[in-house]
Amino acid sequence: MNVARRVLSSFNHPPLTNLTSKTCSRTYAFKSDLKIKWVRPEKIPCIRPEKSGDLEPMSQIDLSQPRMMFRNSKELETADETVKKLFSLEYAPRKEVARVYFEEIKDVVRRHPMDAGSIEVKIARWTGIIRAYQELMERFPRDKRMKVILKELIDRRKKHLKYLRRWDYKKFEWLLETLNLVYKPPPNEFHWITRKESLQKLTDKYCEDLKQERLDTYRKMLQAEQPIFLKEKIRALQFIRSEQQECGVEVTVTDEEIEKVKNQLQELEEKKQSESDDS
């Protein structure tokens, strides 16, 4: 233990020594000497994909296909190219294109062709609307009405994902994978981000890292000493054994003991060899 303390304290680390010398005269408005720079995280609006958990934006729709309501039209099939083009999504309002996207995203998770109300279809529908609205919000950032609807949709989807996780974990994971969503649980308690508290946390982390680093170097040092110690142990055991045999006293050191230490040494060397080969 004493050796450990000596070795650990022998590391010269300027910031920490400064800190320890300062702790004696620690007063009101104490300032740490550690060079920790705190950067306040930028506020991300709740409607952005980073916060809502959408990993992909609204996918590109093939604009050459006909509009939804003319899908099954016999006349359109026999019409000429210009008419077909006029009735395609290219000349349709954005609403129509988005509707096709909603149908596509719902089709991926549907249980059966008539499924419109199962939990996975509901979540897929909301996901489609959310992604379409997120794209629109980029273009019209001052549209407050849309912003409110979008936020409510994101929250509702999160709530239902929470329920689905509780009811059916396997389906929950599958849905996250197919819709490319991320689910993060809310933190336990809310608090405002302050400079003081953040710096305290960063300092704690810094000290933890420093402690771990020193322990690792100490462990490495001890491991480097192991072969020398084992060689010395073998020599000493052999010497004691031969002395005891010569003097005719009861022999307390057995051959197995020496053999065991030798094996230990061999294992250590093999391990070292394999590690150096790897690196």
Partner: protein, 159 residues
């Protein structure tokens, strides 16, 4: 007072909560405590660590834990005995069938069969066991925190 009550009981039923320890899981145990002024019982939660070397308890599971004859460490006082209800994979104890919220899985499957199943729909038989999305898209196995520092490294548990 309630801590003493929990200490006296050898077998407890708890719900697993996120915990970063390698060989132990953390459990939330809810007990009713009598308020002598109001003569009413109020729920009180306490947290217990149980030895779990294989980490078979996942967050949210309802687990039976047993008190160790001797404390293992300062924190670990119990050992995991049995996972009673894994989260989101409930089996009805009466019929032995799997349940999703208020319905049997078989009944849902039967309805789907009548309409005609779709190709890309979710299949229970082919689904991998829970945990394959851990740290990828599902971050419920650890506690999240409010982001307090803008570092170059990405912190997935920051909200």
């Amino acid at each position: 007072m309630s801590l003493q009550a929990a200490a006296q009981t050898t077998i407890l039923l708890g719900r697993c909560v996120p915990c970063l320890k390698h060989n132990a899981s953390k459990f939330k145990i809810k007990r009713l405590e009598l308020d002598t002024n109001l003569l009413m019982y109020f729920g009180k939660e306490e947290y217990v660590y149980a030895h779990d070397p294989q980490k078979m308890c996942k967050t949210g599971d309802v687990v039976l834990i047993e008190q160790l004859p001797k404390k293992m460490t300062r924190l670990i006082t119990h050992a995991v005995k049995k996972v009673v209800y894994p989260l989101g994979d409930i089996t009805d104890p009466m019929t032995g069938k799997k349940v999703v919220s208020g319905k049997y899985r078989d009944h849902i499957e039967a309805v789907n069969k009548v309409y005609g199943k779709k190709e890309g729909a979710f299949k229970y038989e082919e689904a991998p066991p829970r945990g394959w999305q851990e740290d990828k898209k599902d971050f419920t196995h650890a506690e999240t925190y409010i982001k307090y520092h803008e570092s170059e490294k990405d912190d997935p548990y920051a909200v």
